[in-house]
Amino acid sequence: MSGVLNLVSTGLYTKFTGDTTLKALVASNTSFYAIKAPKDEAYPFVVWSLLYGGPENITPSDLQSHLYFIRAYATSAVTTGNIHARIASLLHLQSITVTGFTNIWLSLEEEYEGEEILETGNTVYMRGGGYRIRLDS
């Protein structure tokens, strides 16, 4: 079952790294991470993680519903907004490739923003969204 999370992460990574506009907005072509970014990773970067979800167990097929929190971190609020907007245009009512499954629904359900103060005193901004990803085998 946990294999599905790896497959979704691969689908998201492939989607993000396949978009030149999004890659131009982050620090490097591979600034996309599941769960959390490596220590001292340069801003801006994108992180996604599971908020809630799993198998629905209501059909004989392997129907899955996950709510993912996909967000951008940057030292500029505007940059996080631009990255979030680009991600939304790539995902909302679109689809990702998840091996062994059909992505039957993908939508942005809610948006989040926040800020944190680093030990250096610098401010890091976050903007992102909760995306519902539904899969069927």
Binding site: I35, K39, F45, S49, L51, V124, G130
Partner: protein, 139 residues
């Protein structure tokens, strides 16, 4: 073409609609306390201050003082802030009152998220979507 007349007696329907307003508040408060319990069950624990700080505020009751006290008992350094009092169509506010809770729920640029409130809300919202509480609204 002939025309027929009919009489529609809406007294029962009117009664249901009248009672729905009262029931709505009761259901919302009940779901609020279920959400509190579910979130407390799922909250990461180091000192238990955060899970202790999860409370419900409704138009008629406010759990802030007890939750804040319980949080500070678990961690004397914990800073707390009350939720806004519900007004208008908002019937209850539920969540933790320690000031670092959102960083636990959503993570930071250097720390992974450990969601506990969103999963709890998803579980409770399923009870609304599956009709569990519809009957309570109209009876």
């Amino acid at each position: 073409m002939s025309m027929s007349t009919f009489k529609l007696d809406t007294r029962e329907l009117d009664k249901i609609i009248r009672e729905m307003d009262n029931n709505k508040e009761q259901v919302a408060v009940e779901l609020g306390f279920q959400l509190q319990a579910e979130a407390q069950k799922r909250a990461p624990r180091l000192t238990s201050a955060m899970s202790n700080s999860i409370y419900v505020v409704t138009k008629k009751s406010d759990g802030y003082a007890a939750a804040s006290g319980a949080a500070r008992q678990a961690n004397p350094k914990a800073l707390t802030q009350p939720h806004p009092k519900p007004s208008g169509n908002v019937l209850a506010n539920v969540g933790p009152c320690v000031n670092y809770a959102e960083f636990v729920e959503f993570g930071t640029s250097r720390m992974a998220a450990q969601p506990f409130l969103t999963p709890a809300a998803e579980i409770i919202s399923q009870k609304i979507n599956d009709g569990t509480y519809w009957r309570k609204l109209v009876e």
